[in-house]
């Protein structure tokens, strides 16, 4: 167990170092942000002053050492575009992204499970067929088109829901949330649906096929032969074994949700980290981009580590095999 965790941790550190290198080389090899900020008609003195202020006049190795040291402490300097600390910017934007991602993940997991179990148990039902067909279309539609479609129907045509921003948010310390008032909740609906749809259909299809497989096994037949009720067989015995692969996929899908959050945030102009990244790309705001790179790599490395561990804990077979081969 310990060796397993250590090996994973080592790999995680290597990945972080590689990403850090990319982030740092951004600082060093990318065109001049001074020109970008001051425009055409700045005097050389102004340029020099700004260059000094931003720390762009120092040699390569000093900037590099400073970068690594600061990155570990979560400091990425000033945003070139907004002239505010990047860490503050990220702190402001992080709650928006996490709130959106978790709402979408919860929605996808819950509805995906329910629909998956339903379509497996009522395999030949009419509604099941409809669900499966719709999910096939859902898979082929790219996230941004789903978002645009929802905006057109619910925001432009019906005018029920807002089409952009978070609406009103409540401030809890540095954490901002839209969950506690009607305006914020309303703004959350369309982006969450957009973001959850892909994962939802995936989980639904996975649960369905796993459930169908489990229902064919001998121990289910035996449970039926013992005269257990349908409910006990389906939810007590079958569902439990269905969940093992679902946990891994759901965990990995959390990563996909965070990745696609960039797209959803841009469509809905949701003030999260993904939208911040896209804005910083367009403005060549290097510190923000570097911070985002490191941040997203950290999130992914952590998720993967947790999923590995969970899998290890949930499936006892894995533990026996590993410890068996170790001796």
């Amino acid at each position: 167990m310990l060796a397993f965790i250590l090996r994973r941790l080592f790999q995680a550190v290597l990945v972080m170092l590689a990403v850090g290198l990319v982030a740092f080389s951004l600082f060093n090899y990318v065109g001049d942000p001074v020109n970008l900020m001051l425009g055409q008609d700045a005097t050389p003195e102004q340029r020099e002053e700004l260059r000094r202020d931003l720390g762009l006049d120092q040699p390569f190795y000093i900037q590099y050492a400073r970068f690594v040291g600061n990155a570990v402490q979560g400091e990425f300097g000033l945003s070139l575009r907004q002239a505010r600390p990047v860490s503050t910017l990220i702190k402001e934007r992080l709650p928006a992204t996490l709130e959106l991602a978790f709402c979408a993940a919860a929605l996808a997991l819950f509805l995906g499970l329910v629909m998956g179990v339903y379509t497996a148990l009522r395999r030949r039902g009419y509604f099941s067929q409809v669900l499966l067909t719709v999910s096939l279309i859902g898979v082929s539609l790219p996230t941004f088109l789903i978002g645009i479609l929802l905006i057109y129907v619910f925001a432009v045509t019906l005018q029920w829901l807002p089409s952009y921003s978070r609406g009103e948010v409540t401030q809890l310390g540095w954490w901002s949330t839209g969950l506690f008032n009607k305006d914020g909740l309303k703004a959350l609906i369309l982006p969450s649906i957009t973001l959850s749809l892909g994962t939802m259909t995936l989980i639904m299809r996975l649960v369905r096929s796993e459930m169908l497989e489990v229902l064919r096994t001998d121990y289910i037949k035996f449970a039926r032969a013992r005269g257990l009720s349908n409910r006990a067989v389906h939810f007590g015995h079958a569902l439990k074994n269905t969940l093992v692969p679902v946990i891994t996929i759901a965990g990995l899908q959390l990563g996909a949700i965070i990745a696609f959050a960039i797209v959803t945030e841009t469509v809905f102009q949701w003030p999260g980290m993904g939208f911040l990244f896209i804005q910083s790309v367009q403005a060549a705001d290097i510190p923000v981009m570097a911070a985002y790179l490191v941040m997203i790599a950290l999130i992914f490395v952590t998720i993967n580590l947790i999923v590995d561990l969970l899998y290890y804990l949930v499936d006892p077979r894995l533990r026996i095999e590993r410890s068996g081969s170790a001796h």
Partner: protein, 303 residues
């Protein structure tokens, strides 16, 4: 002639004829591809020839609506360009990017997979470890970060003209793992077969065996993955362009068109977004269906 006859007699053509869905999908795919590739010949207007466009024609709705004009069947954009033509030219860009990216993935993945499987040892575990790590990040995220970060390394005035290379590189670099894993698996099997041993006995060099003997025998599944990958690559490219880190407005792909059209959604010009989106979905879905069919048709276990 003979090979053609054998093809029409064979299993694959038979299974093609048995599936109306596949026939329909391949017709749609063919229309999309021909319309895209031959757009300079087939498109009713040339939307990028300034002499042909006129601001007087701007923002016309599709021809069946009240203010529509027959010569612009599905309307015009704010610069007076014919939407049908911009879609055809845009599909060409999308397709070009997707196919080039997939080719890059194939070259990279097949050679790394072959090396990994045939040479084995440390090289194998190194390549496969990198593949594992890459797989733990979603492909679209990697492509997005690469494209967003990659363009920063270009001189600012050339970012638009070089954008296509950055995108092909970003999408191509994210796709190699699947090929590498498949090819590695097949190469491991082929390696122990008699023809390889025979070649080694008569003193054929390692590289020659790999390229001349093993490679042709591991390419089968690559075709299926490549077809499905073209669909994914079209979607990835569209997403990147939609986010503004893909093709520039001067050389728009379908994603760029949707991005531009989205700004006019609130003012009611839905056709600017709807038709490019429709073309995108049609193209992706039909290529996907053909790929799925190909996978089943080429799988000997399912026969």
């Amino acid at each position: 002639m003979d090979t053609l006859k054998r093809f029409f007699d064979g299993d694959i053509w038979w299974s093609f004829k048995q599936s109306p869905l596949t026939i329909g999908a391949s017709i749609v795919a063919l229309i999309c591809i021909l319309g895209a590739v031959l757009s300079p010949l087939l498109a009713p207007h040339n939307p990028y020839d300034l002499a042909q466009i006129s601001l007087l024609n701007s923002n016309l709705p599709p021809s069946w609506m009240k203010e529509g004009v027959a010569s612009f069947p599905i309307g015009t954009d704010q610069q007076g360009r014919d939407i049908l033509s911009t879609i055809m030219y845009g599909s060409r860009v999308s397709l070009l990017v997707a196919v080039s990216a997939v080719l890059m993935s194939i070259v990279m993945g097949v050679s790394l997979g072959l090396l990994s499987g045939y040479v084995g040892g440390r090289l194998d575990s190194f390549i496969m470890r990198i593949a594992d790590i890459q797989l733990s990040f979603p492909a679209i995220l990697v492509a997005l970060l690469l494209a967003g970060v990659g363009r920063q390394f270009l001189p600012r005035d050339q970012q638009d003209s070089l954008a296509i290379y950055v995108i092909v590189f970003s999408i191509g670099l994210t796709g190699w793992v699947q090929y590498a894993r498949t090819v590695r698996g097949s190469a491991l099997v082929e390696k122990s077969k008699e023809y390889v041993q025979a070649a080694r006995v008569i003193g054929v060099s390692k590289w020659r065996i790999m390229v001349k003997h093993v490679l042709p025998n591991v390419l089968g599944p690559v075709l299926v993955i490549a077809t499905l990958n073209v669909a994914t690559a079209i979607l990835t490219e569209a997403t990147l362009s939609f986010l503004g880190v893909g093709m520039p407005p001067t050389q728009p792909s379908l994603g760029t068109l949707i991005n531009e059209g989205q700004n006019f959604l609130l003012s009611g010009e839905w056709w600017l977004t709807f038709f490019p989106g429709l073309a995108l979905v049609a193209m992706v879905m039909s290529v996907n269906l053909v790929g799925d069919w190909l996978r089943d048709a080429l799988n000997p276990k399912l026969r």
